[in-house]
């Protein structure tokens, strides 16, 4: 009895510590989850979560009758999938080739330069690309030199998704490169020495040693990114798109933002947001589960 109460007494300070962060966690993370009830209401901010009129699934019916909703879902999947493929490929290629640079100083410098765009916000990058990719911007000036007609990177609906993919890959390759470089460094150097004695050239070594050595990391990164397939890059798109390219560039998150906070259709926007969150929950759970079971990957 004495022992138990003493044990409890030692826990009290731990509970005191954890109280402030827990209140924030409950209010600002679990509060909004409870707030999802507004997807089933005709919500007005004045009536609140408890006082607004309940309408059942009406908001969901409305969403799936809207003509732009299937398009928005399609755009989200398409843009996110293209980005995952492009980002992963670029990071793999850059990491492998960077590993082949023997001069340490050069290697460090290149790595520093490639990683840099990762640190700039999409507000800044949005401003940069709005200028550089404009019809009279740098890229079109350079294209003119080689005789290519001006491309409307940001205002041609057929090209805009590719602009999104390219600019995101440009920004994020440095991050993936670091992850893959870490995987390459952990490959046993003895393998390379053995290959060298057997007379395998550098390209063969990349193909038969480096790539298989990174394969776990590659598959793991792909599985984890599967969980983010509804996340097409809200920050980026909001800073690069315009009504002209909604047709191909509008995604779930940007739609929800405009509908909810710009047009004050709170319930409809939340219903669509809830749909997105639920699908993401399933995808993420599956992704983390596979990563854990197959590759023993744990965040905790």
């Amino acid at each position: 009895m004495m022992r138990i109460s003493q044990k409890l007494k030692r826990q009290i300070p731990l509970f005191v510590m954890v109280l402030p962060p827990c209140i924030i966690l409950l209010v600002y993370f679990y509060g909004p989850m409870f707030g999802l009830v507004m997807a089933f209401q005709r919500f007005t901010p004045a009536d609140g979560f408890f006082g607004s009129e309940w309408v059942g699934l009406e908001n969901f019916h409305k969403i799936f009758e809207m003509h732009d909703v299937p398009r928005v879902i399609g755009n989200t999947f398409k843009i996110a999938t293209l980005k995952i493929i492009s980002d992963t490929l670029a990071a793999i290629v850059v990491a492998i080739l960077l590993n082949e640079i023997t001069n340490r100083f050069l290697k460090k410098t290149v790595q520093t330069i490639i990683f840099f765009p990762y640190f700039l916000s999409w507000v800044i990058l949005g401003g940069v690309f709005r200028d550089v990719l404009a019809t009279d911007g740098l890229v079109n000036i350079l294209l003119e030199y080689i005789g290519v007609a001006p491309i409307r990177f940001l205002s041609d609906p057929a090209i805009f998704p590719w602009t999104l993919v390219a600019t995101q890959t440009w920004q994020i390759t440095g991050f993936g490169m670091i992850v893959f470089l870490a995987a390459i460094v952990s490959i046993d150097p003895v393998l390379y020495e053995a290959a060298c004695i057997d007379g395998a050239c550098r390209l063969r070594q990349i193909w038969y040693i480096t790539l298989p050595g990174m394969s776990t990391t590659i598959v793991l990164m792909l599985i984890l990114s599967m969980g983010y397939v509804l996340n097409a890059g809200f920050d980026q798109i909001l800073n690069l798109y315009s009504p002209i390219v909604y047709e191909t560039g509008d995604v779930i998150d940007t739609w929800v933002f405009r509908m909810g906070l710009r047009r004050a259709q709170f319930s409809i926007a939340t219903a669509f947001g809830l749909f997105r969150s639920l699908v993401s929950l399933i995808l993420l759970t599956v992704a983390y589960y596979i990563a854990y079971k197959k590759y023993d990957y744990r965040v905790f």
Binding site: L36, F119, V132, I178, L261, L274
Partner: protein, 294 residues
């Protein structure tokens, strides 16, 4: 045979170097171009004469924006935000990570709290309900709206928890025997011992707060309360909101919306550029420490 091998190796090395030269140019080109535009006269920019190098060098665009009160105000709010965000966020992270680093036998709520935390990585209420909660808790137009909700980052807490867990328990036990309470143990034993992990988290949080703009956009209804990135965002996406309102004809020849925009973009990026070598080191360390961070 040896000669042939070194020959093909050379070709490979050279083409690799060329490849990375192109990649590096592509990485830096857009940023250098914007810098050059900000340093050129509007006439030269309009004529398409600015290609990676400034033409008709002038600092008038910088002079013009640095004289604007709104700009300094936004800069000030951003600085306060980074300071408050980092100190409050780190305090919450430490306070939550320490109890979570104890086994369930020592802290009985550990498992429940851990799952509550992890669940926030998988599911969220989304922007509209979060907005409503911030509104109902009275944080609209208050800088705390940018600090409090973002102070709990599950990934950071878990990273620090793992770090705390690696600290030998004997240390804690002997401190406890000497009469140190839990708070004392945490702040004079665990925190100093975790400085490498904490510095990494501080750097993550600093960059996060400096670069955040969306929360400022939705939680601040008064544009005078915008942090710098939000301030910049609103003028970038509505570019026809002309900035050269009270400009004289003489000034118009030197600065235009485009050169002013470029100057503002660059000024907002300066803190990151200056701190970059330092930031990079800690981010690389953090990526290694935490496995994968999306």
């Amino acid at each position: 045979m040896v000669g042939e091998k070194t020959f093909s190796r050379r070709i490979f090395q050279i083409s690799n170097a060329v490849f990375f030269f192109i990649v590096c140019v592509a990485c830096l080109m857009p940023i250098i171009q914007v810098l050059s535009i900000s340093l050129s006269s509007s006439a030269a920019v309009a004529a398409g004469r600015v290609i990676l190098l400034p033409s008709e060098l002038t600092f008038r665009s910088y002079e013009h924006i640095l004289r604007r009160e709104e700009f300094w105000q936004a800069m000030g709010i951003s600085s306060v935000r980074v300071f408050l965000g980092v100190s409050f966020g780190m305090l919450m992270t430490i306070l939550m990570a320490y109890p979570l680093s104890k086994p369930s036998s020592v802290f009985c709520a550990r498992t429940v709290l851990m799952w509550l935390l992890i669940f926030t990585m998988l599911f969220s209420g989304g922007i509209i309900p979060t907005f409503m909660i911030v509104k109902y808790t009275g944080l609209m137009n208050n800088i705390l709206s940018l600090v409090i909700p973002s102070s709990i980052q599950a990934f950071n807490i878990i990273l620090l928890t793992n770090f705390f867990r690696a600290i030998p328990r004997d240390l804690e036990e002997s401190a406890y025997m000497d009469g140190a309470g839990s708070f004392r143990i945490l702040f004079s034993l665990y925190v100093p011992l975790s400085l490498p992990a904490l510095t990494t988290l501080i750097v993550f949080t600093m960059v996060f707060h400096w670069n955040s703009w969306f929360d400022g956009l939705i939680y601040m209804t008064d544009a005078r309360l915008y942090p710098l990135q939000t301030f910049l965002q609103t003028i970038l996406v509505t570019p026809n909101l002309t900035m050269v309102t009270r400009a004289t004809a003489e000034l118009m020849r030197v600065v235009s919306d485009r050169t002013l925009m470029a100057a503002q973009i660059f000024v907002a990026a300066i803190p990151i550029c200056l701190l970059y070598p330092f930031l990079q080191r800690y981010f690389v360390a953090g990526i290694m420490l935490g496995g994968v961070k999306e």
